[in-house]
Amino acid sequence: MLQGTLDMLVLQTLALGPMHGWGITQRIEQISESVLRVNQGSLYPALYRLEEQGWIHSAWGATENNRQAKFYSLTARGKKQLATERESWSRLPGAVGRILDAEV
């Protein structure tokens, strides 16, 4: 999976609410109906990168089972970033389609 894709997926997942790393992998797989299998090992560096960029924020908190986990949440700038990326992603299918059409 492309790095940019994973970033956007993480941001999109967190847009639904704060979540820990394990939860993020679960949810991405759920939403994409297991089509997109997250390479679990590459999730964490991505989270760190997003946090350094100021798009997400992390804090320790308790899970439903009352275990301590590091929860990630979207920052205001993260939301903006997500919107920008969404826009370019939504334009992509059209662009790809036009290229395919032109080739036919």
């Binding site: 394990w22 679990q40 090992g41 590459s42 560096p45 760190y48 350094e52 275990r67 301590q68 590091k70």
Partner: protein, 865 residues
């Protein structure tokens, strides 16, 4: 484990636990579930490495990007960059120079082995603070203490070095053999003294000081073994010292005690009251100064009990132990701390100035910032860029400052030399450079913090209007702070100048112009006894009087303003007045005695108020006479005529009749009020040594002719310290003058900086308000009143700053009080003068930028976007 590592570990562990739990719910055995979860996650160490790299790369990348951006911005604004770097260079350079002196004098360990264990001993009495020690006393303290490993003695003598073309006076330190080993000084060449050198009858040996070896013997590396003819005796050079600060005074050569005729005489060695030596010692490792003090005081008590006749109870004999470092730097310390504070203030002003320049620039790029913020640049990111820019600026300023500091250092060192011998150790070396580097970085962070705060407010504030208004307030408060601090510095400098003026306007009590002076030292081996010396001085006086151009000549033991006299101070000799016996258990009055030749008062122009002055007939066979000064006359014979009264210095064995009363002379410096003074004729009182010649023309031009006359009397007379009394007087005021100049220099620098800050803020305000001012003009406001309006804005800042500055000065100038002469630390004239000067300069700094109002075209201004 660092927090980052710990968090990472906990986070991955949580992931594994959850993943394994998932597998277990699917029916796997725990062990297999963990294995599967681990496979699914990947190797944890690799993940961690990647996380670490990610973080490191991002940090490094952004830092580099910030720095690159900063460099680009600075090069894009060369005017701004130049102004900021120069301001910072001045601030950091001044601090570097002063700190290098503070470090070399106050902080650097003494260049002696374990210098902090060295203590100086002083005896004190009810009337004298720094009494020296006699041989029995030294032995008493050496044997009767428990806290010192060794006790060392020192006294100084004058020797003549003969065998060259002219006789040379050599300042000689006579020391105990353990002197250098206790200090821990290793010779540069040869050896220092060993115990055998101190035995009676041992060969005469010399150790040369580094400076004397360098200046008088050309740094000859093969000097060890050479033989010097000193006072008719052969002395062999055995060693040369390294460059070290010499305690208690700078000497040319060192000799062991056995070579001093006085010190080695049996009679002197037994005389408990022959107090001639300075003493210091080394404390045992671990002993504290307080312990040494208590131990030595106990020994002093034992000696006072054993020899009550040497330590009369009413004199309150005691002993004081002080650290050698404190002793060496005691005069320099308060002054250096004042200078350090002053340059610290200058740097603060420089910081405020650069912060203001940054703010002004920020205003111009406000739109760019707004755009970047809208595009999602984080506030932290902008702040970081500003900080990077600030640190770049201050590092550039720091480098330039450190390069400039040595230019000021020479002058600063020669200034410091007047207060401490440690000045020779001052240099800009690693600790000083580290200090400057830290200073530069802290400075950079400090002044970029202000605009950084402004940026964060820019983001929080809703509209552009509030942002720029609050920044206007920020700029104004920076200017107010600058004005306040530079006013404090101006008042400080003003007080020093005023103190110097007061000092300068003191009347010395004689006519110092056209007085040539020189020190004349005979070979004492050839003039033994008072008679021989009397004959010599009479011949000298007659011979010099014959030299064409000499109006009058006299000799004295201490010329007015003589640096040596100022250093040693009055000699506080006890005397008794006839008919007023000193009752047992009380202290006898003391007085300063100076031996002078016939015609001395006429020569220097010291007026005689009553009686007569000395003539050649006042010789040893005649009636013993004295001249006293006005202070003593009024002090001891108020409302009476002291002429004809008698006094004695030896409990009535010899009576001396007062022959005259002379006016007061401030011979120990203009800052010291005249004390009780008695002059005795040298033909009766013995030794003098300083020749004073009143010349018809320029005094120093007569020096050669006078010296030729002296050589005709005796070619072995050593002549040195040829100068004029007027120069001595100037020299005695030099510390006050230089301090005033130095503080004035820094205050001037502060004034220029803060006024350029004010002018810059005014210029910005005018350009920002062009539109508003244009509307005012269009509506018919006279240009004069608009100008007034703008100028008033600047003057309001100045007045606010002055008000704070006055309060600050009232609080701070008391730290200058001990440096001031006849000037109160809250001297009203200085405060008013400094305030007036400030207002004038500030007025110019406000009006010049405000003048642009006169050129505003109302129509163009209103049309402006």
């Amino acid at each position: 484990m660092p927090k980052f590592e710990e968090d990472m570990e906990r986070e991955l562990r949580f992931h594994l636990d959850e993943a394994a739990a998932e597998f277990m719910r699917a029916g796997m055995a725990p062990q297999a579930a963990y294995a599967a979860a681990e496979r699914r996650l990947g190797r944890r160490e690799l993940i961690k490495d990647e996380c670490r790299d990610t973080r490191r790369n991002i940090m490094l990348e952004t830092t580099l990007r910030d720095l690159r951006y900063g460099v680009r911005v600075l090069f894009k604004n060369p005017g701004f960059t130049l102004a900021a770097v120069l301001t910072l260079a001045a601030g950091i350079g001044a601090n570097t120079a002063i700190f290098s002196v503070v470090y070399g004098v106050l902080l650097r360990p003494l260049p002696y082995a374990q210098g902090s264990d060295l203590v100086v001993l002083h005896q004190k009495t009810a009337t004298a603070d720094e009494l020296r020690f006699s041989v029995p006393e030294i032995n008493g303290y050496r044997e009767g203490n428990k806290t010192l490993t060794s006790v060392v003695e020192h006294h100084s003598m004058v020797f003549l070095l003969l065998g060259k073309n002219i006789a040379e006076r050599v300042q000689t330190a006579v020391v105990s053999a353990n002197f250098f080993s206790v200090l821990g000084v290793e010779p540069k060449y040869g050896r220092t003294f060993v115990a055998d050198d101190e035995k009676p009858g041992s060969d005469a040996v010399l150790v040369l000081s580094h400076n004397y070896w360098l200046t008088r013997h050309g740094g000859d590396p093969s000097i060890v073994g050479k033989v010097f003819q000193m006072n008719s005796r052969a002395h062999t050079v055995i060693g040369v010292l390294p460059p070290i600060p010499q305690y208690p005074q700078e000497s040319d050569v060192y000799m062991p005690t056995s070579q001093c005729p006085t010190r080695s005489s049996a009679r002197f060695q037994q005389n408990r009251n022959g107090r001639m030596m300075t003493v210091f010692g080394r404390m045992k490792p671990g002993a504290t100064l307080a312990e040494a003090q208590a131990d030595l005081s106990a020994q002093a008590g034992r000696m006072a009990q054993a020899y009550p006749e040497s330590y009369p109870r009413e004199r309150q004999y005691g002993i004081v132990a002080r650290g050698l470092r404190d002793e060496l730097t005691e005069k320099a310390e308060p002054l250096l701390l004042v200078l350090l504070a002053v340059t610290g203030f200058v740097l603060l002003i420089a910081c405020a100035n650069v912060a203001n320049l940054l703010l002004a620039r920020l205003l111009r790029v406000e739109r760019e910032l707004a755009v970047r913020t809208a595009l999602g640049a984080s506030r932290w990111r902008l702040v970081r860029q500003l900080l990077a820019e600030g640190v770049l600026l201050s590092l550039a300023g720091g480098v330039l400052g450190v390069v400039m500091a040595p230019l000021a250092l020479r002058a600063l060192v020669s200034f410091t030399e007047r207060f401490t011998t440690r000045a020779a150790e001052v240099s800009i070396d690693t600790p000083v450079l580290v200090f400057s580097l830290i200073l530069a970085v802290v400075t950079g962070l400090l002044f970029s913090l202000v605009p950084a705060l402004a940026v964060s407010r820019l983001q929080q504030g809703a509209g552009r209007q509030t942002g720029s208004r609050s920044r206007g307030r920020l700029r104004a408060s920076l200017v107010v702070a600058q004005v306040a601090v530079s006013f404090v510095l101006l008042v400080g400098a003003g007080l020093m100048v005023r103190s110097f003026q007061k000092l300068r306007s003191e009347r010395p009590g004689f006519r110092p112009e056209q007085l040539l002076t020189m020190r004349v030292t005979p070979n004492f081996y050839r003039y033994q006894g008072r008679e021989a010396l009397d004959v010599l001085w009479q011949r000298v006086l007659h011979k010099v009087a014959e030299v064409p151009g000499v109006a009058a000549v006299a000799t004295t033991a201490n010329a007015p303003f003589d640096p040596a006299g100022i250093a040693s101070g009055p000699n506080n000799t006890e005397f008794q007045i006839e008919g007023r016996p000193v009752s047992p258990g009380t202290l006898a009055p003391t007085v300063d005695i100076t031996g002078v030749s016939a015609g001395y008062f006429a020569t220097i122009g010291q007026p005689l108020l009553a009686g007569r002055e000395f003539t050649e007939r006042d010789d040893n066979a005649a009636l013993k006479v004295a001249v006293i000064n006005d202070t003593l006359a009024r002090h001891r014979w108020p409302g009476e005529d002291p002429v004809g009264r008698r006094i004695t210095f030896d409990a009535g064995r010899t009576w001396i009749q007062i022959a005259g009363v002379a006016g007061d002379v401030k011979e120990y410096g203009l800052d010291r009020p005249a004390g009780d003074e008695i002059y005795l004729p040298i033909r009766q009182a013995g030794f003098s040594g300083i020749l004073i010649v009143r010349t018809a023309g320029e005094p120093l031009r007569m020096a050669a002719a006078v010296r030729r006359g002296l050589a005709e009397v005796d070619s072995e007379l050593a002549v040195d310290r040829v100068s004029t009394i007027a120069r001595f007087q100037e020299e005695s005021m030099a510390p006050a003058k230089l301090t005033a100049m130095l503080l004035g220099l820094f205050a001037g620098l502060a004034l220029v900086m803060s006024m350029s800050g004010l002018a810059a803020v005014m210029a910005l305000a005018v350009s920002q308000r062009t539109q508003e001012l244009g509307i005012r003009l269009a509506l018919g406001a006279p240009r004069g009143s608009v100008l007034q309006l703008v100028t008033w804005q600047g003057m309001a800042m100045t007045l606010a700053g002055l008000a704070i500055g006055v309060a600050g000065s009232l609080m701070l100038t008391r730290f200058l009080a001990h440096l001031l002469y006849a000037t109160s630390a809250t001297d009203i004239v200085t405060f008013i003068g400094a305030g007036a000067l400030f207002l004038i300069v500030a007025g110019v700094a406000c009006v010049v930028p405000a003048w642009r109002v006169m050129g505003i075209d109302p129509v163009a201004a209103i049309r402006q976007e």
